[in-house]
């Protein structure tokens, strides 16, 4: 069997809109991608997932608690390229809106932040790990994502330039 691009699709604090866009792109691309992409981690679609030895990790969402911070660092160690997907991953917003609350609203939500070990601030991915590329949008732009994926397939030698 010929080599495929080993990808992981991860989601942190966000509305998962770009995941939905990706799943809708499969309407046209599934059979083409089946021969090119090995989805090693895609919890929305798979029960058995493996985040090790990835060529590319596509990461959606901002980082809002300690567990997410640890996980995204682990993803970084296990992928050659990490791509931030969608607005929350690229800029933090709108998932980071609590960063800008006034004092009284911050006090109102503090018990939740304490109970679930939230970080002091919600962060865009690049504040937590090295990000190699950004595909922004709320949700991500379909055409831009497809052009980037073509670029990565060429970069990793899966298709010829």
């Amino acid at each position: 069997m010929s080599r495929k691009l080993r990808v992981g699709w991860f989601s942190f604090t966000c509305c998962e809109d770009s995941t939905m866009v990706f799943i809708e792109l499969m309407n046209e691309k599934f059979f083409e991608w089946r021969d090119l992409l090995d989805f090693r981690y895609f919890r929305t679609l798979k029960g058995r997932n493996d985040m090790t030895d990835l060529d590319i990790a596509f990461v959606e969402g901002a980082i809002s608690n300690k567990k997410e911070e640890e996980t995204v660092k682990k993803i970084r160690q296990n992928c050659k390229k990490l791509v931030a997907i969608g607005s929350c991953a690229c800029t933090g917003a709108p998932a980071n809106q609590r960063n800008f609350f006034d004092q009284s609203t911050k006090e109102e939500i503090q018990f939740i932040l304490d109970r679930f070990e939230h970080r002091e601030k919600v962060s865009q991915l690049s504040d937590v790990v090295k990000v190699d590329d950004f595909i922004s949008g709320c949700p991500m732009d379909e055409k831009f994502f497809l052009s980037k994926l073509d670029q990565y397939l060429k970069e990793f030698g899966l298709v010829h330039a």
């Binding site: 989601s11 942190f12 604090t13 966000c14 509305c15 998962e16 809109d17 770009s18 995941t19 939905m20 866009v21 799943i23 809708e24 499969m26 309407n27 046209e28 599934f30 059979f31 089946r34 989805f39 895609f42 919890r43 929305t44 679609l45 798979k46 029960g47 058995r48 997932n49 809002s64 608690n65 997410e68 709108p94 998932a95 809106q97 609590r98 609350f101 609203t105 109102e108 939500i109 939740i112 109970r115 679930f116 939230h118 709320c138 949700p139």
Partner: protein
């Protein structure tokens, strides 16, 4: 038979959003079950305060990627009710079509991609062998039809752009409607095949419960009265008075009870309470499958979803064939102090948005009640009751069976973690 068993599932798979499950069995008895909705809060109920109403529906549609059109539509209705705006009949038709597009796409994603792998005993759609290629193509045709219907009517399937307070900013062309009718008709036969698969599926877990849904005369998810299987009839604006919130300390989502007891919202509730209002073509073609309802089998939620796809296709075809959409002047939109409540049926059940606006049109208080949060208590109890029936299975299979129960509800965990009611200043209005 496991005498002692611990199951910890981190991130239940094939659902929308994040949830964990912890189970503890000792001396053959279930000691503890914790369904933890672990989706981190983004605090929309707080963040929406002081926003001008014009931006609110688009803003809160970001609560959820998959059912964003439901939040957009429900919030728009809340703003309109507060401001005393009555949308035109054409706007109401376009809203129905936008919501139908979402229902088709969202239900199809859940059924084909999350549930069918369980029925065919594989891990995911990626593991379907080539003998299933035809079915996979059908899945994409059905999902694509819903996706395209939302695009034609509302601009995008995810975070739609045309829907706004009182009107639509863009009207679908005659040509687009023609293409859409053809696409929907071509997807229809595939949906009949899908319904048969879920009818033939022998998964079962029956437990009597109370069902609650917005009962609409044309099964269009948007207007009507809230009804429950115990015979209660509630006006949309009074729904909150029948709910009690339950803090679940280990879950980032608040649970709810209806009239003090656990209950269920969603496709199964709608089908049990309102199947006679389905489109006539739907009723004509599937009497055998409809005879299953009313049902207490939680897995029939998925059969109900498949039938709802057929209804959405049939009613959309009729609306597109019988109407020619024209540019029309939007109604005047002026600030007014007051309270507005929107209630619609989202894919996973009854969705409630309440907004209080001040005289400058800014939000002073917001309250959102999410379908999955309403189902949370029943879901957890179902898991506790399923475990004794499957304790003789290998641990891996128990794990899988428990995920299956959760998936049957089609929970949307991104949405569910958005209720946080702390301050309630009744002196405002």
């Amino acid at each position: 038979m496991h005498d002692s068993l611990d199951i910890n599932i981190e991130q239940i798979s094939k659902t929308e959003g994040h949830a964990d499950l912890e189970v503890k069995v000792r001396a053959g008895k279930v000691q503890d079950v914790k369904l933890k909705i672990s989706e981190n809060k983004r605090f929309y109920t707080q963040a929406v305060r002081n926003r001008h109403f014009v931006s609110v529906p688009q803003f809160v549609s970001r609560i959820c990627g998959t059912c964003s059109i439901a939040h957009l539509t429900c919030s728009t209705e809340a703003v309109e009710k507060c401001l005393g705006i009555t949308p035109s009949p054409q706007t109401e038709l376009l809203r129905k079509l936008a919501v139908y597009g979402m229902m088709i796409r969202d239900h199809a994603m859940h059924l084909y991609f999350f549930c069918l792998p369980d029925i065919f005993k594989v891990d995911s759609v990626f593991e379907f062998d080539k003998s299933k290629d035809q079915l996979v193509k059908q899945a994409f045709a059905v999902k694509g039809a819903g996706n395209n219907l939302s695009k034609v009517v509302a601009g995008r399937a995810i975070h739609a752009t045309y829907e706004r307070i009182g009107s639509f900013s863009h009207i679908p062309s005659k040509e687009d409607c023609k293409v859409m009718i053809k696409e929907l008709k071509s997807a229809r036969d595939h949906v009949l095949d899908l319904i048969k698969i879920f009818y033939d599926c022998d998964f079962a877990f029956n437990r009597k419960t109370t069902f609650v849904a917005l009962v609409t005369k044309d099964y269009s998810f948007l207007e009507g009265e809230i009804r429950s299987s115990d015979g209660t009839v509630i006006k949309e604006e009074d729904y909150w008075d029948h709910l009690s919130r339950v803090v679940i300390p280990y879950s980032q989502a608040t649970g709810f009870k209806f009239k003090g007891d656990e209950f269920m919202v969603g496709a199964l509730a709608r089908m049990n309470l309102n199947k006679d209002s389905l489109h006539r073509n739907t009723r004509k073609d599937i009497p055998k499958y409809l005879s299953v309802f009313p049902s207490y089998n939680i897995y029939h939620n998925n059969l109900a979803q498949a039938i709802e796809i057929l209804h959405c296709i049939d009613h959309s075809i009729q609306m597109l064939e019988e109407n020619e959409f024209k540019e029309e002047s939007p109604p005047a939109v002026r600030s007014r102090k007051g309270r507005g409540i929107g209630v619609i049926e989202a894919p996973r059940g009854t969705l409630y948005h309440m907004l209080e606006l001040d005289g400058d049109g800014k939000v002073k208080y917001a309250n959102f009640v999410i379908p999955t949060a309403q189902n949370q208590i029943k879901m957890e109890k179902d898991i506790a009751l399923v475990i004794p029936q499957i304790l003789d299975m290998p641990k891996h299979d128990i794990h899988h069976e428990l995920e299956k129960v959760v998936r049957a509800y089609d929970p949307c965990l991104s949405c569910a973690s958005h209720f946080l009611r702390i301050k309630w200043n009744r002196s405002f209005v």
